[in-house]
Amino acid sequence: MSEPRQAQTGDAPRVAGPEVLEISGLVKRFAGVPALGGVDLTVRAGEVHGLLGANGCGKSTLIKTLAGVHDADEGRVAIHGQDVPMPFGADGLRTRGLSFVHQDLGLSDAATVLEHFALDHIGVSGGAVRRIPWEAERRRAAELLARFEVAVDPDSRVDQLTPVQRAMVAIVRAVASQEVLARDGERRPQLLILDEPTVFLPSADVGILFRLVDRLRADGDAVILVSHDLDEVLEICDRVTVLRDGKNVGTRDVPGLSRDELVELILGVKIGAVTRPEDGTQRSPEVVLSTRGLSGERVRGLDLDLHPGEVVGVTGLAGSGIEELTDLLYGVRSPTGGTVSVGGEDVARPTPSRMLGHDVVLLPADRKALGSAPRLTVLENMSLPFLRGSFRGGRLRWGALRQQAQDTCVRLHVKPADPAALFSSLSGGNQQKALLGKWLDTKPDVMLLAEPTQGVDVGARREIFRLVREAVAGGAAVLCATSDYEQLVQLADRVLIFADGRVVDEIAGDAITKDALTTAIYAGAAA
């Protein structure tokens, strides 16, 4: 990450404080099957502690147990050295100084920042008709935001904030509500659990969020960071604890820990470096998708030629236009100018259904809202592109559709390979594999990927890379828009660097490294 770390307190021994949270031998079974098989975790004041593991390792069960969603079956949890009686319930740990910021942040779009803070301060129960001292509340909110150096107007509505501002408001809010709970005014070290806070953030903004985390650490608070992004973890954390199959694999000090070692800890197997093809000769000279002067809200005058057999990466800072590009190409948003042609044929007004007709598919970044229907089954989600083809003899051939979905799930190692399972019951990585499998089965000419490994564990991530490369070897063209540089290093044949809506640089082949990408992006943004 290129943002410098400012509040980091030198090279002194990083973790010295007293223990804030001590978990030992925590067991949680579902219908007799242990999801947590005796987990130990110790978090000290003044540390950022990474909690890592592949999907299904027990991470989310652990978090949900601490939050009181599940009741633990065995084990001991102590906060500030005092045992907490089980079951905790929703407030058991919260009232003792533990707070959570979940991925969805728990903010209400239509309410202002001030209203959120005031709600926590005044409390949600009792005295429903007493007057709210709005001026005092506004002062208090402004003070809080100033104290954490969060430049947000208390009167702005949540939906007017940028994603990183929202995340920071959620964190400050969690900390502040803990301070309200500490009645005597004495401030004990708090424990804040951040559950994948960076998933929806543009990479450039992650540094801003981490400065806030640094600040909490400097104040002597403890932070547990749950994340799939190993680079972020290595950047911000003091120690990491890795879970696999519901058990501890180990706790390590981050200084001296390499990315490869971490991957090995998480997966339990050693894995070779990258999946990029040895020879970049898969690319064909013909052009499958091309744009001339394509413009949208951000993208300006894009000329792009996509060849079969190549992965073109697209990256840039937030607002550079990369978030919009896949939507423009797929016709989700209407272009304000320019042309898109597929296979030499102009697509007059691109819409998703027209682009699908040209064998162009999109894997959107927002899996839950745009990629899938979580409340329907895996079978129904995966058979959507094949409905017309499976309507034979006057009815849908569900048997054939089920067989196809099942085969695809087995081939792509989707777990469980059960087409009748509810789509939302799969983990993030398995959902993404199933959706990728759905589109791969249509044998697309062009695949547009938007942040394809967001919220996906390292194991599934590698499989997704492998599947994409297989499709490319089979003659597909892939465009991957992402702010995940590591992904581009592993996957892309060439990378277009966006700044201010235009392509400012192109890096190809072995020249694609994280350093080269970072340099090009910032050089482009500064120009």
Binding site: F30, V33, P416, A421, L422, K443
Partner: protein, 364 residues
């Protein structure tokens, strides 16, 4: 969209014959799916034991035949509900249709057949207006059809001079009521055919499946190439047309059209649809579930009336059924989700060990 997808033969994947067999899940039993059928059976048994007038041919035939209008209306309502839209104007459309038949046939002296056709076309037009406003201006159909419903009710009083028009051609009455099959009025069988047709469209055609996805997430459906606007428009046209059909059946059943009678159909239709979504296919609006739900309610109210209950028991029953239905469907869906989630978790854990060894081998 690619329509010809040649699939590699099963089990010939790249991972070879050693590929992990899909885990055999224990077959899912969802006894809740049939709970309503069971309760219905119990209700029937109780009434048969308590009053000997209940299990008579006449009573059964009247129970099945008397509520056909409502069943047809509820089935039409299912279509917009499937795409996630409410149509609150179906009852008013039914009223307009019945009144048009009466006015054209009785006052204007039209032949009954064209009168019925015009009435049904009017329903289609009302649905099209609803749909066009909803899709074109992207407005919540709840509000649009609520407004339309009140507007139509006004039109109904206007064109009828707030008076009941009777004397509709007995031909219509013969076609829907007097003729019987297996001693049950023929209109009941019309409804059964409509129910089967909807079941077929919903479950066995691509169109029905697309409607389902539109109802789940409009954005997702659009990204998958589904014409979301068209689906919503057509759903409202269908519900308007079928509501008008119900109006024609009503006109035939009563031989007259009463501007006050139609509004009372709205809530029972919704109650049947929502209660129906708690049965057979939990959490989904489905035609046979609606069928069962409706006749469960009819059985209950008829039985209570035979036992001497007042007429208002019908409203008590319908209102309670709607509220209980939405609570039930919420609870059942949550239970179902939890069970599926547990199954998935167990299957994942069960395969995890095998997969790990597999991976180790692959990497070696």
């Amino acid at each position: 969209m690619t329509t010809t997808t040649t699939r590699p033969a099963p089990a010939a994947g790249p991972s070879g014959p050693a590929a992990a067999e899909p885990p055999k899940l224990k077959s899912r039993k969802e006894p809740e799916r049939f709970a309503l059928l069971g309760v219905w059976a119990i209700v029937i048994i109780i009434f048969s034991l308590t009053t000997d007038r209940f299990l008579t041919e006449g009573n059964i035939s009247s129970m099945l035949g008397s509520q056909t209008v409502l069943l047809i209306l509820a089935l039409g309502l299912l279509i917009p509900l499937r795409v996630g839209d409410y149509d609150l104007s179906v009852a008013a459309t039914l009223g307009i249709s019945a009144m048009l038949v009466a006015i054209l046939n009785v006052n204007e002296g039209w032949n009954i057949v064209p009168a019925c056709i015009v009435a049904i076309l009017a329903g289609a037009v009302i649905g099209a207006v609803n749909g066009a406003i909803v899709v074109k201006f992207d407005i919540d159909p709840f509000i649009v059809t609520l407004g339309m419903s009140t507007l139509l009710q006004g039109v109904l009083f206007w064109i009828s001079d707030s008076a009941t028009i009777s004397g509709i051609d007995v031909g219509l009455s013969d076609a829907v009521l007097t003729n019987t099959v297996l001693s049950i009025p023929v209109n009941f069988w019309y409804a059964v055919v409509l129910c089967a047709a909807l079941w077929y469209v919903f479950d066995y055609t691509p169109g029905g499946q697309r409607l389902l996805f539109v109802g789940q997430s409009k954005d997702m459906a659009r990204l998958n190439g589904i014409g979301v606007g068209r689906a919503r428009f057509l759903a409202l046209v269908a519900s308007g047309t079928i509501a008008a059909l119900a109006g024609v059946v009503l006109a035939g059943t009563t031989g007259s059209a009463d501007p006050n009678s139609s509004a009372s159909f709205l809530l029972p239709a919704f109650a049947a649809c929502f209660l129906g979504s708690t049965t057979l296919k939990i959490g989904r609006f489905n035609p046979w579930g609606t069928f069962i739900a409706l006749y469960f309610i009819v059985t209950g109210t008829t039985g209570l009336q035979l036992l001497g209950a007042q007429n208002y028991v019908q409203q008590l029953f319908y209102g309670a059924a709607l509220i209980i239905a939405v609570i039930l469907s919420k609870i059942l869906r949550q239970r179902n989700d939890r069970r599926l989630q547990n199954d998935a978790r167990q299957a994942a854990l069960a395969t995890a060990a095998a997969e790990t060894t597999q991976n180790t081998k692959d990497n070696a």
